[in-house]
Amino acid sequence: MSDKPEKFIDENGLRLDGRRVDEIRPMTVEMGVLSRADGSCYLEWGNNKVLAAVYGPRELHPRRLQRPSEALVRYRYNMAAFSVEDRIRPGPSRRSTEISKVSGEAFEPVVMKQFYPGAVIDVFAEVLQADAGTRTAAINAATLALVDAGIPMKGLVASCAVGKVDGQLVLDLNKPEDNYGDADLPIAMTEDGEITLLQMDGNLTADEIAKGIEMARKGCEQIFAIQKEALLSKFGTTDEEELLKEAELQAELATSEDEAEDVEVVSEVVSEVVSEVVSEVALEGEDDELEDEVDEDLELQDEGEAFTDDEVENASDEAEDLFGEDVSEFDINEGTESEGDSSSEPEDAESNEDEGEKNE
């Protein structure tokens, strides 16, 4: 299996797959591909094929896992048995458990967990075909699945890796670079450039790390552009005016819904003439209901302001502390249980893990 190429970068500065050192592999994205999930995204990146789906916010059982003041964000990275050269046993491994943990944490700073106390937002990322950089591909798909599910977020997250071959830094490692390179530095960041995932193995100098982060940032910028394009083009064929009309309809309902429903639904006899209904809505809408509505809005806005600047940072820091503890405990429990159940010998599980490492 040791078919290490002699050179990774040719005299023209091109890599084995023809890319420049600062170029990412081609990425394609398809939104909303699964009917059962609340949000989903299929993403191909080079030869990686990943599928991400979001369920939630939804009820969280068992109760002891619930957070009284925010939602739990659970991330499950899973590789299909046939996704790599040498088959891997289905189900969680130590490797996938670790990736799941840190990848979930990569979304902590952007997901507005505060809106859904006690609930859970489940993010599932399935690697259907692996070809170096699956964890970063999965994060890129998961961001879009979260957006597709209508989860409130402060912004997108993008992820890519920087590595080192032939003594040079390269962006978004391909398979040979990943297998035989000198370093791998996967990173995820927000649009503000805050780093939300950082791992590294291999050997890099401090200077290379500084330069590598900049390369990864540029890579993430390219990915943000692809993600935004995917989101905006989903409605490419729809007249924007139509969407605006819908937004107005929604806003109207938000103000008058209580009254409209009282009139429409509660009364035994539905008014024959629509205009009567309408005048009632409008009239009642003008008195106390409106004040209610205003109050609610102000509350909402207050809430919005409460989450600004420093406070947000503190809140999410605290949350992250909590999250780290609880979730890792949970994951480990789950992981050991499943491994215990599905594998006959512990050595087997270990060798499985090694396979996984190699395959990444």
Partner: protein, 263 residues
């Protein structure tokens, strides 16, 4: 252009005091929290394309009994939170031991959200006119984000649905719609509601749905159809149109004005 499709994290405005629902403020600027359509009339707000229903006080919703405890019916609400209906919130006096006789697991019920605590404990009530156990009919589920379409401006769509299908219709805020009538009528109505949900254009949708329910051909251009429909019907739909426009104008005025007044 002042308004458009936005994605989470997109900068919407530099006037933080104008921040409305679906947005957040950072460093004095307003950003979108959601994937949806931004509205810049009055305050800056974003209406999402999708998302779960979250219980809110006074909402009428359709729930399903999933458990019965000695004093509460536990209801699945189509949201991340189950709801509790205390035995005292049933319209009749019910003895604890007999609760299942009135509502048992699997029953669908129209309830009103009485209160939602900060920790999202959802209390429900049936002591409101309109609350009832649904023994007949069907329940159709639509995305909660599409509920406004089904209700329509000033309830115009619901009116058309009821009138033209001869069915009872109740639209729960949680995206569950109860319909009841003759089987054939319910079949047509189901198709009409699916049409409302999947249609990409909402202009003239009320008319289109009305025509469909009256037995007009499906999928024909609505402009053509309008000419085919006899005068009387056309008259009605025109009137509807006027009324709904009127409503939307009124609502728009209300929307535009109230934030300013409170500021």
């Amino acid at each position: 252009m002042d308004r458009n499709i936005v994605i989470p994290g997109q900068l919407l405005s530099e006037k933080k005091e104008m921040a409305g629902p679906g947005t957040y403020v950072k460093d004095g600027n307003i950003y979108s929290l959601l994937y949806g359509v931004a509205n810049f009339k009055g305050r800056v707000s974003v209406v999402p394309f999708s998302g779960k229903y979250i219980p809110s006080r006074k909402d009428f919703i359709i729930v399903k009994v999933i458990d019965v405890t000695p004093s509460n019916w536990i209801m699945e609400t189509g949201s991340p939170y189950d709801g509790l209906l205390h035995v005292s919130e049933f319209p009749k006096r019910v003895d604890s031991s007999e609760m299942r006789k009135f509502m048992d697991i699997g029953d669908s019920v129209v309830v009103r959200v009485k209160d939602v605590s900060k920790a999202m404990k959802v209390e429900l009530s049936m002591r409101e006119q309109g609350s009832k156990v649904l023994r007949q009919g069907r329940i159709i589920e639509v995305m909660p984000a599409k509920v406004p379409r089904v209700i329509g401006h000033g309830g115009s769509m619901v009116s058309v649905l009821k009138k033209e299908s001869n069915c009872d219709v109740f639209v729960g805020k949680n995206g569950r719609i109860w319909i009841n009538g003759r089987d054939n009528d319910m079949d047509r109505l189901t198709t009409a509601i699916e049409m409302i949900e999947s249609e990409s254009h909402i202009s003239g949708l009320t008319d289109k749905v009305g025509i469909f329910l009256r037995g007009g051909p499906e999928g024909t251009e609505s402009s053509d159809e309008e000419q085919l429909v006899d005068e009387e019907v056309a008259g009605v739909s025109l009137e509807d149109d006027d009324v709904t426009e009127e409503t939307s104008r009124k609502v728009d005025v209300l929307l535009e004005n109230d934030p300013e007044e409170t500021d």
